[in-house]
Symmetry: C2
Subunit: 715 residues, 2 copies
C-alpha cells in the first residue's frame, strides 16, 4: 500500500521545501530510491545490501529500548553511548564504588558486570508489512473510537501470535500517521553485561556545559556484551550464561571519514514532527515549552538541593538531573532556534504553500480541505485540556510511590480481562518489565525528593481553574486540609519504598488493592476512577487522528516531487550524508573534527576534569597508531549532515563500506528544532570517532584484549 504513495512524483514543483539531500530518516526498503545520491556520495556497497534490515550491516544494529547499539564482535560485544549505560552503572554503584562517576573496565569476560534486571536488548529478526491485517476491520463508517479499538486489537493479536515462541519481543509500528504498519519481530536478550564504560570525566566530558555544543570532546562510548543461556536461548542473568553469538556484527574502519566523505547512521530514532501543522509549533513555542521549562527548573532546583545535602542522594539523583536538565536545555534550545532561524515562520510559509496547492484544485479542495479543518479542530480539543492532562501526567510520573501504586492498580484491573483485551503496556508480556522497574527503583528512590515534587504538583493542580481541575485531587486536598496535610497523609506510610512490598503488589487482585489501607493505593484508586473516562476520550481522539493523518500525509506526499520518509517512530531507519562542518554564526565555521589536543586544552575543573591518565597519554596521541594523518592527532568527535534524533543515541555511524567509524550521540544546539524542521545549513549530528575509543582502550586504559576483540591487530 505504501509504495504507490511514495512513488508519486507529480508534475507539481516541490512546494514544501522539506526534502533535502541529507534530510530523511529512511526505512531500509526506501534506500534503493536514494541510490543516485548514495552513489554520488560514494557508497561502496550495493544499495540492496544496505537496504536489507536483516543483512550486513543493518542486521548488526540493535536496540536497548531507549538507545540504539550495534554488535561489533562474534562474541556478542556491543557498542553504544556512555550516556545510554548510565542506568546500568548506577545499578552497579555503591558507597564503595561509584561506577556512575568512575566508570568500569572489565579485565576479562569473567569480570563483566550484570547491567541489571531491567536491561533488555532486542535484535530484529523480521519486518513484515501488516497494513492490510491492521486495517482489515476498519471502514469508512467505522467510528473514531471503534477505529482506535480495532486497530489496537489487530496490533495486539499480531503481537501475541508473534510472541508465542519464548524470547520474542514483537511490536506493530505505524507509519505516515497510520497509513501503513509493520510487524517488527525481535529476539529479546535479558542478560547484558558492562564490559567498559569510561568515567564521567571522559564519557560526558563537559557535561551540561558542553551538552548539545560544538566544539565537543566527549568520549560518549561504552561497551556491553549480550549473554544467553548455555542452550543459546535468551535467559535472565546467570553466572554460567555464555556470550551471545550475533547473526551479524559490524567491522570497524579505523581510517575514519574525512571532511566531505559519506557517512550513514542506522538506528532507532524515537520521534519527530516533520509534518506537523504550524499551529502545533506555535503552541509549543508559546505555551508548552515555556511551561515545561518552568517545571524543569523547579524540579532541577529540588534535585540540586537534595543532592547537595547528602552524597547518597547525589548518587541516586544523578540520572534524573541528567535527563531533566537535558530536556530543559532541549526545549530552551528549540525556543532559541525558533527565534534565530524563523522556524515557525518557515513552517507557516510551507503550510500556506500546501494549503494554496490544495485550494488550487477543486477536487483536492473537496477531499483535503475538510481533513485539515478536522485536524485543526482535533488539535484545538487537545489543547483545551492540555494543562490538566500534563499535570495529571506529572503527578504520577514524578512521584515514585504514586507511580508504583497507579501502575500496580492498572495492571491488576487489566489483569481481570482476557489478555488480548488488556491495555497495551499492561498485558502479560509487560509483567516482567514492570516487575524489573519496581525492583530497580530501590537504586534510585529518594523520598525527600518525592515529597517535594508531589507538594509542588499538588499545588499547581490546586491552582487550576475550577472547570479544569482534577476532581479526586481536589477532594483529597479538601479531606486533608490542603496540600501539606495531603502530602503528610500520604508519606505517613512509606511501605512502598520497600522492594518486596512493591513487588508484592503485582500479585494482588484489584479488590485487595482497593481495600488496602495504604494511602497511596487509595489515592491511586480515586485518580484511576477519574482518569478512566479520560482515557476513553483520548482513544477517540487517537481514532480521529488515525482516520485523518493518513489522508493528510497522502496529500502532502502528492504535493511533493521527491520520496517522503515517515516521521520517526522508534523503528529501524537509515540516514546518510556527509562529514561536514557548519557556520553557527556569520564569520565562524565549526570544523568537522575535534582532537585529543582539544580535550587537553579544555581540561580544568569538573565537568572538564579529564583524568590524569588521559592527559598523560595525550602528549603522545599525535604519534599513536589511531592518529589521523591529516589532523596529526587522535580524532575525538565529528560532525555530519545526518538526520537523527533522540533514540538514535548509540547508533552506529558507518562509512561508505558499511564499516563502523563512530557512534552518534548528540545533535547541535543551532538545530535543536530539527525534529520540527530540518535545516540543511544548520542541522548536524555529533559523533564520537571510533579512533578515540581505540586510543582510549589501548593508550589510556591498556585494555588490549578489547582492542583485539574489536578486530584490530595487537600493537
Amino acid at each position: 500500500m505504501l509504495t504507490p504513495l511514495l512513488m508519486l512524483t507529480l508534475s507539481c514543483p516541490a512546494l514544501l521545501g522539506v526534502a533535502h539531500a541529507d534530510e530523511g530518516m529512511w526505512l531500509p526498503e526506501q534506500l534503493p530510491e536514494q541510490a543516485q545520491r548514495l552513489d554520488e556520495l560514494g557508497l561502496e556497497i550495493p544499495v540492496e545490501q544496505l537496504a536489507d534490515p536483516l543483512g550486513e550491516p543493518l542486521g548488526a544494529i540493535v536496540s536497548l529500548g531507549f538507545c540504539s547499539a550495534s554488535f561489533v564482535s562474534p562474541q556478542g560485544l556491543i557498542l553504544t553511548n556512555h550516556h545510554c549505560v548510565e542506568g546500568y552503572l548506577q545499578m552497579n554503584s555503591s558507597a564503595d564504588a561509584d561506577r556512575s562517576r568512575d566508570g568500569y573496565l572489565a579485565g576479562s569476560q569473567a569480570e563483566e558486570l550484570p547491567a541489571g534486571p531491567s536491561a533488555r536488548l532486542t535484535v530484529v529478526e523480521a519486518m513484515t508489512d501488516v497494513t492490510d491485517q491492521i486495517l482489515a476491520r476498519v471502514g469508512k463508517r467505522t467510528s473514531d473510537r471503534q477505529r482506535q479499538a480495532r486497530i489496537e486489537a489487530a496490533k495486539k493479536a499480531l503481537v501475541a501470535t508473534c510472541e508465542e515462541p519464548a524470547g520474542r519481543r514483537c511490536r506493530v509500528a505505524g507509519y505516515y500517521g497510520g497509513a501503513s504498519y509493520r510487524l517488527i519481530q525481535a529476539r529479546e536478550l535479558r542478560d547484558l553485561r558492562i564490559v567498559y564504560a569510561p568515567p564521567q570525566s571522559i564519557g560526558s566530558y563537559g557535561a551540561e556545559i558542553d551538552n548539545w555544543m560544538w566544539p565537543r570532546h566527549s568520549g560518549d562510548f561504552a561497551m556491553l556484551r549480550a549473554y544467553v543461556g548455555p542452550d543459546g536461548d535468551a535467559a535472565d542473568y546467570a553466572k554460567n550464561n555464555v556470550p551471545y553469538r550475533p547473526p551479524h556484527y559490524l567491522s570497524l574502519d579505523p581510517s575514519g571519514a574525512q571532511d566531505g566523505e559519506l557517512a550513514m547512521v542506522a538506528g532507532f530514532p524515537g520521534h519527530t514532527n516533520r509534518y506537523a501543522m504550524a499551529s502545533a509549533l506555535r503552541f509549543s513555542r508559546d505555551t508548552a515549552y515555556p511551561w515545561s521549562i518552568d517545571r524543569a527548573d523547579e524540579v532541577l532546583a529540588m534535585l540540586a538541593d537534595e543532592s547537595a545535602k547528602d552524597p547518597e542522594a547525589a548518587a541516586r539523583l544523578a540520572a534524573p538531573i541528567g535527563w531533566i536538565g537535558n530536556g530543559r536545555k532541549y526545549r530552551q534550545g528549540m525556543l532559541d532556534n525558533f527565534e534565530a532561524s524563523d522556524v515557525v515562520e518557515r513552517v507557516e510559509a510551507r503550510e500556506q504553500a500546501f494549503r494554496d496547492w490544495v485550494a488550487a484544485d477543486k477536487k483536492r479542495q473537496r477531499s483535503v480541505a475538510p481533513v485539515l479543518d478536522e485536524l485543526d479542530a482535533l488539535a484545538t480539543d487537545r489543547r483545551a485540556t492540555w494543562k490538566t492532562d500534563d499535570l495529571f501526567y506529572r503527578l504520577v510520573r514524578y512521584t515514585d510511590l504514586l507511580r508504583v501504586a497507579t501502575t500496580a492498580l492498572r495492571l491488576a484491573d487489566e489483569g481481570q480481562k482476557p489478555d488480548a483485551d488488556r491495555e497495551p503496556g499492561f498485558q502479560e508480556r509487560d509483567r516482567d518489565r514492570i516487575a524489573a522497574r519496581f525492583a530497580s527503583l530501590e537504586r534510585s528512590l529518594w523520598l525527600p525528593l518525592d515529597r517535594r515534587t508531589l507538594t509542588r504538583t499538588l499545588t499547581l493542580i490546586e491552582d487550576l481553574p475550577a472547570d479544569q481541575g482534577i476532581t479526586p485531587v481536589d477532594e483529597f486536598l479538601a479531606d486533608h486540609g490542603g496540600v501539606d496535610g495531603a502530602v503528610a497523609a500520604l508519606f505517613a506510610d512509606t511501605s512502598l519504598a520497600d522492594t518486596d512490598t512493591r513487588l508484592g503488589l503485582l500479585e494482588q487482585d484489584p479488590a485487595t488493592l482497593r481495600a488496602s489501607a495504604n494511602p497511596w493505593l487509595q489515592f491511586a484508586a480515586s485518580l484511576e476512577s477519574w482518569q478512566a473516562p479520560r482515557r476513553a476520550r483520548d482513544k477517540a481522539r487517537a481514532g480521529a487522528s488515525l482516520r485523518l493523518m493518513p489522508r493528510y500525509m497522502e496529500a502532502l506526499i502528492q504535493a511533493r516531487s521527491r520520496p517522503v520518509y515517515p516521521d520517526a517512530n522508534g523503528s529501524l531507519r537509515v540516514t546518510f550524508g556527509q562529514v561536514q562542518g557548519y557556520s553557527p554564526r556569520d564569520g565562524v565555521w565549526n570544523l568537522p573534527h575535534t582532537t585529543v589536543a582539544g580535550v587537553v586544552a579544555k581540561a580544568s575543573d569538573a565537568p572538564f576534569d579529564a583524568p590524569p591518565r588521559l592527559l598523560k597519554a595525550a602528549a603522545d596521541a599525535p604519534d599513536s597508531r589511531w592518529a589521523d594523518p591529516e589532523l596529526h592527532d587522535v580524532p575525538v568527535d565529528f560532525l555530519t549532515t545526518l538526520d537523527t534524533t533522540g533514540g538514535n543515541s548509540g547508533s552506529a555511524t558507518l562509512n561508505a563500506k558499511g564499516q563502523l567509524i563512530g557512534l552518534i550521540f548528540d545533535g547541535n544546539y543551532e538545530a535543536m528544532s530539527a525534529d520540527w524542521l530540518f535545516d540543511p545549513a544548520l542541522t548536524r549530528s555529533i559523533h564520537v570517532d571510533i579512533r578515540y575509543l581505540l586510543w582510549m582502550l589501548e593508550d589510556v586504559e591498556h585494555a588490549d584484549w578489547l582492542v583485539e576483540e574489536l578486530g584490530q591487530a595487537p600493537r
Copy 2:
C-alpha cells in the same frame, strides 16, 4: 651600515624561530629582499615601486600622529578609522549635537567640520639615513650619559635644520636599538576637516564586547579632508582654505580580496618588543600588567560612576573610558595569551637557544656575553625603581590640572636654554602643539574625576615603602594633614580649568610661575626639583641602552638566517601576507570574512544598536553592487595574516595591485601578545572591507558625492 648586517645569512640554522613568511614590519627599502615571497603571494606591481616610500602607493600613506591614514582622492580626501577621529568628533559635540555618538556626514565640502586645533596630518617628503651624522661624536669611550646627550643633540640639530622651512615636521627615528637612524622629513598640515564619520553604533558596533574579537562587524571607518591656505601652504583652519592636492592618492578596488589572496598594510606601527629578553616578559606578566590592570579597574570604576551622574561627564569622559578600557583589555588579553600559548616559555626557549649559540663560540662569548649581562643589570636597575616611576607618571598623567602646571613649568624652564639644548618635547617647535593641547582640554576636563584620580594616586604614593617614596609628595601630604587635606588644598584653586588662564601660563617665565600662589604650580615645582635628577638617571640608562642594544641586535641578526626587521617605532612600515582565517580553538575555524547579514543577526540593544536605516538597507545588501559574489552579501570585516600593532590603526590595506581594499583597525584576542611574539597560527589583523564603506555611503547614507569622489561610477 644597516644592509651588511641585514644581509648576513650565516650557515647557522634559524635558531630563534622569530621569522615567518607573514611576520615582519618591513622598512620599505627591505621589501626587495622579500621579492620571492611577494611573488609567490601574487604581487602584481614591481617590488621596487612598492619599496619607494615617496612613490605610489606608499606616498599616499600619511599619519595623524596616533593613527595612520591615506589619501584617496586628488582633493585631499583621507580614509582612516572611526576610532581615530573620536577626539575630533568630541571637539564638535555639544548638548545639541552628540557627534561622538551620532557621527557626522557632510552634505558637501562646504559642510565639512574642522577637526580642531590640535589635529595634525603629516605627509612624508623624504627619508634619509643619518646614522653616520648621529653617531659621529660617539666613540667607544663615550660615557653612557654623554652618549645619550650627544645622540640627542645630533638628532635635534638635524631636526632643526630640517624644519627651517615653514610647514615642515621632522623626526629622527632609531632602528635596531640605535644601530641606525633615519631623518624623516614630513609636511605638516593643520587644517583637517571631518567629512564622514558613522555613528558609534556602526563605527564601534559591539564596542567593548566585540573589541579585539572575531567575528567582528565594525564599520570602523571615517573620512577626513586636508585643507591648505589658498597659496597651497599649510595653514591653520580658515574658511577660505582650499582642499590639499596630495602628491599621491590610492585608488580603490571594490572587488576586494578573497580567502588566500595577497594583502598588504602600509602604515605607522608604534611599538613592539619582538627582540625583548624573557625577563622583560616575565616582569610584565608577573608584575607590570597585573598592576596596570588594577589601576585601570580603579579609574574605569570612577569614570563609569562620574558618567552615570551627569550626561555632560559622559560626553567628556567617553574617550578615556574607551582608551583605558582598551588598554585594560589589551593587558588582560596578553596575560591570557601568555598562559594559553606558553608565550613566556617559548621566548625563554628562544633566548636559551641564542645564549647557547653565543656560548658555543669563544669569540662570540667574549663579545656578546658581557652585553647580555649588562642588559640584564640595566633591566634590574629599572625594575628596582619601577613602581615609584610609574606612580609619578600616573600622578602627572591622570590629573589634568597637575599635568598643565607641570608642562607649563618645564616649558618655561627649558625656554631659558638655547633652543638646541632644550629637552625634546619642550622646544620652540613644540610650543604650538602644547598650546593646542591646553586649549582642547576645555572639551574633556572633568574636575570631579580629576579629584578622585588624584586622591587615589596620592594614596598609593603614600603607601610606597619609605625608601621608594616621592619626597615632595610625602612633604605635601604632611603639610596638609594627609591625602584629603592635600587634595582639598589643590582644588581650592581651579583657575587652571579656565582656558585663557592655562594658555597664559605659556607666556610666563620660570620665576613668575614659581612665585605664583597657585597651589598646582607650587606642587608642580616641588615635584620638578625632585624629578630632575631622576631624568638625568634615566638618560644615563638610555645611553647604556644605546650602547648595548645595537650590539645585542647585531648578535641576534648573526644568529638568524633570514632578513630581520626592526621593532616598530612609529615610522613607515609595510607588512604583507594573506587573507586568512584561523582556529581560535580545537574544532572551530574563524572564517576570514563577515557580512552585513551578521550585522543584522547581532542587532539588539547597545552596543549592538545598529541604526534602523542600516537594518532597512541590509535586506537588499545581497543585491547591492558592492556585494561579494562568493559571499552573496556585502562584506563587513576581514582577517589577514599581517603583522600590525597600535599606530597601524587606519592604515590602508592594499591588494596585489597596490589598491586600497580596506582599513586595518584591530588585532585578534588570541594573539594580543603578538607585540612580544608573533605566532603565525594565531596572529591575525582585523580590517574593515572598503565595500562596507561604499555600501554604507551609497545605500545607507545616500552620500553619492563621496562614492564618486572615491573614484566609483555613479549608480
